[in-house]
């Protein structure tokens, strides 16, 4: 088993594609998507705002506004995605506030915009005509620094590219089979599961090394605080085992390296989509969100969100870690069984 691990690791380290997919590509993608996601929130379009609403919106951290000259322009900007939503302030008696809130769909960003805008309107209604009191109080109000803008894209891309990188390693198994190495191994006094676990272990080492590198980069460059170290390690470990087992299955099934790579990339991307690595699962229906949990990536993302956003402890992430452990066991058993049937079959 050690020999199998060593040979596979040497092949993986010599594969420039893997090094690029496993290191450079995720870092660049985290940087670009983080900069885009973390750039000032999409503005809210304001049509006909009162001076007070405009003042509060422009002086509140985290709100960006764009003044629209007409409702048509506002609607157009919403459809083009230039503004996340629009507020059309309407005439109201006294200090009351009345407005139309225009939106294309109730995404999290749109709901956030609504929350921010309604909160400011509540403040206007509460202060009445005593705006000086509010301005003075605001000056004494502490405002906290937000989470790193990369807090979601960093783990999302780590999980996605860990999947892609490890699954692509399945091509190595095809090469090993093509060269006849697997057949010669089967003639040796080596157990089938030792061969499979050897293959998986080399993929695991690659996965964990890559993940540790990305975690380090995420912490140093992107200021992402990953949370409880034990939880993070177990999530990566079990996710790595699950993906490595899947890579063995793909490598056993494929007839050529190109088939293996094509299948691996597609499976990794689709699993990533279902798991919330490509878009947040809050954007989809509950049913799809639940169905998406048939892939280990979804549980890994749940764990990272809890750790980074909710500052969860090890105990609080046990359900996700437990689910990932189950995936690891089931997929490993499946990999050994399928490999035995395919490689040792006499048909």
């Amino acid at each position: 088993m050690i020999a199998v691990i060593w040979v596979n690791l040497r092949r993986a380290m010599g594969d420039r594609r893997l090094l690029i997919i496993g290191t450079l590509v995720p870092v660049v993608i985290i940087l670009i998507t983080g900069l885009l996601e973390g750039s000032p929130k999409e503005p809210i379009g304001l049509y006909h705002p009162s001076a007070r609403l405009l003042h509060l919106a422009q002086t509140t951290d985290g709100i960006k506004v764009r003044i629209e000259s007409s409702k048509t322009d506002l609607t157009d900007d919403i459809l083009r995605g230039r503004v996340v939503a629009g507020i059309e302030q309407l005439p109201a008696p006294g200090n009351s506030v009345k407005a139309n809130f225009l939106v294309e769909s109730s995404t999290t960003d749109a709901v956030q915009a609504r929350t921010d805008a309604v909160a400011l309107m509540d403040l206007m209604a509460a202060e009445g005509s005593n705006t000086k009191f509010t301005d003075a109080t605001l000056r004494a109000t502490p405002v906290e620094a937000p989470l790193s803008p990369f807090w979601y894209v960093a783990p999302a891309n780590l999980v996605l590219f860990m999947g892609i990188a490890v699954l692509v390693l399945s091509a190595g198994m095809v090469e090993t089979r093509r060269l006849g190495v697997l057949q010669r191994l089967s003639a040796a006094p080596v157990r089938k599961r030792a061969i499979v676990f050897g293959q998986m272990a080399s993929m695991m080492v690659t996965a964990v090394t890559m993940a540790i590198g990305l975690i380090f980069v995420g912490y140093v460059l992107f200021r992402v605080h990953w949370g409880d170290p034990l939880s993070v390690f177990l999530v990566i470990l079990f996710l790595g085992i699950s993906v490595a087992a899947l890579a063995v299955i793909i490598g056993t099934w494929s007839r050529s390296q190109e088939q293996a790579i094509a299948t691996a990339v597609i499976v990794a991307i689709i699993a990533g989509m279902l798991g919330g690595c490509v878009y947040q699962l809050s954007a989809v229906s509950t049913t799809v969100k639940n169905v998406g949990h048939i892939v280990p990536q979804a549980w890994a993302m749940d764990a990272f969100v809890k750790l980074i956003s909710d500052h969860a402890s090890f105990g609080q992430t046990l359900p996700e870690i437990g689910a990932l452990a189950v995936f690891a066991v089931v997929l490993s058993v499946l990999a050994v069984w399928y490999y035995s049937r395919k490689v040792f079959s006499t048909t």
């Binding site: 996601e37 009351s96 294309e104 009445g128 109080t137 502490p142 050529s256 809050s282 169905v291 909710d310």
Partner: protein, 378 residues
């Protein structure tokens, strides 16, 4: 002869699993995942929020101030711990525990001006990262409670303000395609990403033929190199059109996506396919081996998709990036398809992007032809 070569290439590709996976199965699966994810939209999802520490009168006033939509329900709970337990167990999507003893005047404004603050004295806004909507609505309820409390502490300038407090009324209005906006946006964009991957796979097959020696045998036949190249490119183009057609059909008839005016969609499909295939073939023709070709396909395809804005929600790119995106065929495909599916414009609105994509196709395709002809010339 071009048709024969193209037909032979198509036939060979159909027998090749990696092409079936990359050009048919993968787009089909992606379209299905996109459709299932976005067909219904997230707007109707019920959201449950819990509140503790607020009197019934204060809660009523706060909910009035928060102007919550109909799909959000608010429940009263007896204690801060019960709110935390309910959110942790998944019974609630978010919660607010009011702690009056910790409230100070200036801290009342934190839920209003800094809703996502991790430390909000006087309020324990209980959220879970897996429910961003629950988080937003919990923050909204906290802001509503906060504004009610603030109103009672503001010294009123006029007597009527205390007797007849001001109110907030927000009416929601939906524009465009509503819940289907994400499906309508991502469906053509994912198709464009796969066009590049498909063209790379096609070019890779030429490299495989060269290394296997079959290319030399073809060139020994009475066939001009140009005919071989055009035949191969035609096969790649047809495969690309099949990819985009599969995604269009599945998302439209399976999940109710609306790609916009049919003629416009057809023109954009032709333009995008030609441009992506031209660039894909040219870039992979720079490769020396099929492994390099595949690597180039994947990396350049991903890069173009990212810079071109295919993988981010509509309008996410800052203005500067939107200009940069126009340096890629993906960016122009995004503009064209966006005018059709996001703005509902007629086919005439995409003439500009279509022409630019054709220019890219001609230039890139011409460069590709030159390089590939050198490969096949004896």
């Amino acid at each position: 002869m071009i048709r024969v070569i193209a037909w032979n290439e198509l036939h060979r590709r159909l027998r090749d699993r990696s092409v079936l996976i990359g050009c048919l199965a993968a787009p089909l699966l992606m379209a299905a995942v996109l459709g299932l994810s976005f067909a219904g939209g997230a707007s109707a999802t019920p959201v449950h929020i819990g509140v503790s520490g607020a009197s019934p009168q204060m809660l009523t006033a706060a909910l009035d101030a928060s102007q919550l939509p109909k799909n959000v329900t608010v429940t009263t709970l007896p204690s801060q711990q019960s709110v935390k337990n309910a959110v942790a167990s998944g019974t609630l999507d978010g919660g607010v525990a009011v702690l009056p003893s910790q409230l100070r005047l200036h801290t009342l404004l934190i839920p209003i001006v800094d809703p996502g603050a991790t430390h909000t004295p006087g309020f324990d806004v209980v959220t879970k990262g897996t429910s961003p909507l629950g988080e937003e609505y919990a923050e909204s309820v906290a802001a509503g409670i906060s504004s009610v409390m603030y109103a009672s502490r503001v010294p009123h300038m006029e007597a009527t303000e205390a007797a007849d407090p001001a109110t907030v009324a927000v009416n929601s209005e939906e524009v465009g395609h509503g819940g289907k906006v994400n499906l309508n946006f991502f469906a053509p964009n994912i198709a464009v990403v796969f066009l590049f991957i498909g063209s790379g796979l096609g070019m890779r097959s030429l490299l495989m033929e060269r290394s296997a020696g079959t290319l030399a045998r073809i060139t020994a036949a009475p066939v001009r190199p140009t005919q071989i190249v055009l035949g191969k490119l035609l096969a790649i183009f047809l495969t690309g059109m099949a990819t985009i057609f599969v995604i269009w059909a599945v998302t439209t008839y399976g999940f109710g996506a609306d790609w916009g005016n049919l003629l416009g969609v057809l023109l954009m499909a032709i333009g995008a396919t030609a441009a992506m295939c031209g660039i894909g073939v040219f870039l992979t023709s720079l490769a020396k081996t099929e492994q390099q070709a595949f690597g180039i396909t994947l990396l350049v395809g991903l890069f173009l998709a990212l810079v071109g804005g295919n993988l981010l929600p509509s309008g996410s790119l800052p203005d500067a990036f939107q200009v940069i995106a126009l340096g890629t065929p993906n960016g122009w495909a995004l503009v064209g398809f966006g005018r059709l599916d996001q703005l509902g414009e007629p086919a005439s609105s995409i003439i500009g992007p279509f022409v630019i994509l054709l220019i890219i196709a001609v230039v890139a395709g011409g460069l590709a032809m030159t390089r590939v002809r050198r490969m096949v010339e004896p």
